[in-house]
């Protein structure tokens, strides 16, 4: 059954595995929280235009990995190379200035602000910027650009100026994704972007991801949904207990093989009923 799924992924998906310039590389990336080894010695490579997935069980270290790449946290040890150069992101701002955007698992939205304020949170369009923190916000420009950003995602949000608190989980998720997708120039990371979404919203998000592929913006997608992973990405990186268990090329592997690697149990078809699929 899983083999079928592997075969059904789109045949026109470009085969650029292993080819092209390296965009992101980590060497021995490690993060400890006190005694918890959330991520150990991760060696990861991402090439130009490549879309990859990160899969693994709960607590495998996927989100931890994302947080190190995006400057939310500073790694305990190890190196991150971006465009071939070692980088040390001290904050998410550093990562964003490099062109890296992320949709975090917990969204990082301000529920009491409206849609444009959220899309531009932390990088507002300003009037009289010399006023520093008291610079006025250019609401009109932010609104126009938000409408444009949301249009590319195909998401309908009836009232942009109501606060996010009044919106559904799907709409909020789409705001977060539009924010990342419209600012990302070099790399975009999405941590379980469809975990809480219905069928239609999931399709919308997957379409946004396909569009990023057309724009050749590299993507790292964290997902528990193997069907989605096989449909969308070129490579699958499997995390297990804070380590990278291996990398599989989407069109040369099967769901069963991936599940075996996730669980660390040698395969014998026992995963037929795995809820992943």
């Amino acid at each position: 059954m899983q083999a079928d799924i592997a075969k059904t992924n789109s045949p026109e998906r470009p085969l650029n595995t292993g080819s092209g310039r390296v965009v992101l590389e980590t060497r021995g990336l490690t993060k400890h929280y006190g005694g918890v080894r959330a991520l150990s010695d991760a060696n990861f490579v991402l090439h130009e235009g490549e879309h990859v997935a990160i899969v693994g069980d709960n607590g495998a270290g996927k989100s931890t990995f994302v947080r190190q790449i995006t400057g939310v946290e500073v790694p305990t040890s190890g190196e991150i190379l971006f465009d071939g150069k070692p980088v040390k992101f001290e904050s998410p701002v550093d990562a964003r200035q490099t062109g890296i955007e992320a949709v975090f698992q917990n969204l990082a939205l301000a529920d009491d602000l409206d849609v444009p304020s959220n899309i531009f949170l932390g990088r507002e369009e300003k009037i009289l910027p010399w006023l520093g923190p008291f610079a006025f916000v250019n609401e009109k420009k932010m609104r126009e650009r938000s409408i444009a950003a949301l249009e590319t995602t195909g998401v309908k949000i009836p009232n942009l100026s109501s606060s996010l608190r009044h919106m559904s989980g799907g709409q909020r998720q789409c705001v977060a994704i539009s924010r990342a997708a419209s600012f990302a120039s070099k790399l975009i990371l999405m941590d379980e972007p469809t975990a809480a979404l219905g069928v239609q919203e999931t399709t919308q998000v997957e379409n946004i991801i396909r569009r990023l592929k057309q724009k050749r913006i590299p993507l790292i997608l964290v997902s528990h949904n193997l069907r989605q992973v096989f449909n969308l990405v070129d490579k699958i990186w499997v995390f297990r207990r804070g380590e990278i268990a291996g990398m599989l090329e989407a069109d040369k592997t099967t769901g069963n093989e991936v599940v075996s690697m996730i669980t660390g149990v040698a395969d014998s078809g026992v995963h037929e009923n795995a809820s992943y699929i």
Partner: protein, 356 residues
């Protein structure tokens, strides 16, 4: 609202999926501005006192300019503080130090505002200074105290309640120590003019307008709400949360000091006991005005209306010749009632979100 909930349960999404959120219409009906409710409350309470006035006292409560101006004057000084406290509470914090800061900064500002005709000035060689000096020193001390509050909260992660409680005790100590308990009096004419006549009201309104604009239309405001909504999210969005918190508490400190300048100028004296319990009055005004103690919600216009409600209730009870002791008790009831109302609002909102 209830009809909305019904609509939202219409089974549009495929069964079996964990969420059924998208069929929710944007709940516009909920978004009658909180300020509107507060305004309705204000009018209702004023009308009640008006009716009671005719029944009990045989005269009008509202149509008495003297009473109204006294009420607004009383409210204005604490209102200035409440504007600062509003911003602190929107970030999800609290400021208990503002009342004591009024005491300390009033003493300090006044000591640089004394007239040379007074023989026992605190700094005999520093009398008749231009009015800007005591103002700048007073506000500077307020800002400094606010920066200490903010830095403690932002960088050492001490809960705001504890940090500002410490500052509250410390500042009251400073106020008493400064002149060993002696009041500081005899300001220059120009200092005395600051709080003269209806000036406190004008200062209050100016402060309210400035910070309403700042909260509503500037980057500062967006970030203040963002931190109160989701501090971690604000950080991930690239907001320097720590620096911003220091700024917000500094502004609160500055406004407490401004209130101190106004009140000491108006009274032509400063005493260590000035501002006693103002912090609670200010918090009550904000909470009555719809500022949520859990952060992220509220506005300066709401707080201004909250201040007016506070004033109307207190002056209403004075008007009804209620004993001063009762007034204090009633104040206590108002404060608790406002917080209970806030918790109730939070609960009903949480229920609404759960239903999604």
């Amino acid at each position: 609202m209830s009809s909305n909930t019904e609509i939202s349960s219409s089974p549009q999404t495929t069964a079996g999926l964990s969420t059924d959120k998208r069929s929710q219409p944007a709940r516009k009906s909920v978004s009658r501005p909180q300020e509107m409710n507060v305004l309705i409350g204000l009018v209702a309470i004023a009308l009640i006192f008006e009716i009671l006035g005719w029944i009990v006292q045989g005269e009008s409560f509202l149509f008495n300019t003297q009473r109204l101006s006294i009420m607004i004057l009383q409210v204005s000084v604490v209102g200035i503080i409440a504007v600062g406290v509003t911003q602190v509470i929107i970030t999800g914090g609290i400021d208990l130090s503002s009342g004591s800061l009024v005491g300390a900064t009033a003493m300090i500002a006044m000591s640089f505002a004394q007239a040379s005709t007074y023989a026992r000035a605190v700094y005999p060689s520093l009398t008749d200074l231009p009015v800007i000096v005591p103002i700048a020193i007073g506000l500077g001390c307020g800002i400094l105290a606010g920066v200490v509050n903010g830095a403690l909260i932002a960088y050492t992660k001490i809960p705001p309640f504890i940090a500002t409680l410490g500052m509250m005790v410390f500042a009251r100590g400073v106020a008493k120590w400064y002149t060993r308990g002696q009041p500081v009096s005899f300001p220059t004419d120009s200092y005395a003019a600051i709080g003269d006549g209806m000036n406190p009201v004008l200062i209050f309104l100016a402060v309210a307008i400035v910070f309403h604009v700042a909260l509503r239309y500037t980057v500062y405001g967006k970030h203040t709400y963002a931190i109160g909504s989701n501090e971690q999210g604000a950080r991930m969005s690239g907001i320097n949360v720590e620096r911003h918190l220091v700024l917000v508490y500094a502004i609160a400190g500055m406004l407490a000091a401004l209130a101190a300048v106004v009140i000491s100028s108006r009274n032509l004296t400063a005493q260590a006991s000035f501002g006693n319990m103002y912090e609670l009055d200010a918090i009550a005004m904000a909470v009555i005005g719809g500022v949520s103690l859990s952060g992220g919600r509220g506005s300066v216009p709401g707080t201004v209306l909250g201040a007016l409600i506070f004033g109307v209730i207190l002056s209403g009870f004075t008007f009804l010749r209620l004993d001063a002791y009762y007034q204090e008790m009633i104040k206590g009831v108002i404060i608790v009632a406002a917080v209970v109302a806030d918790i109730y609002r939070q609960r009903s909102r949480a229920k609404m979100i759960d239903k999604e």
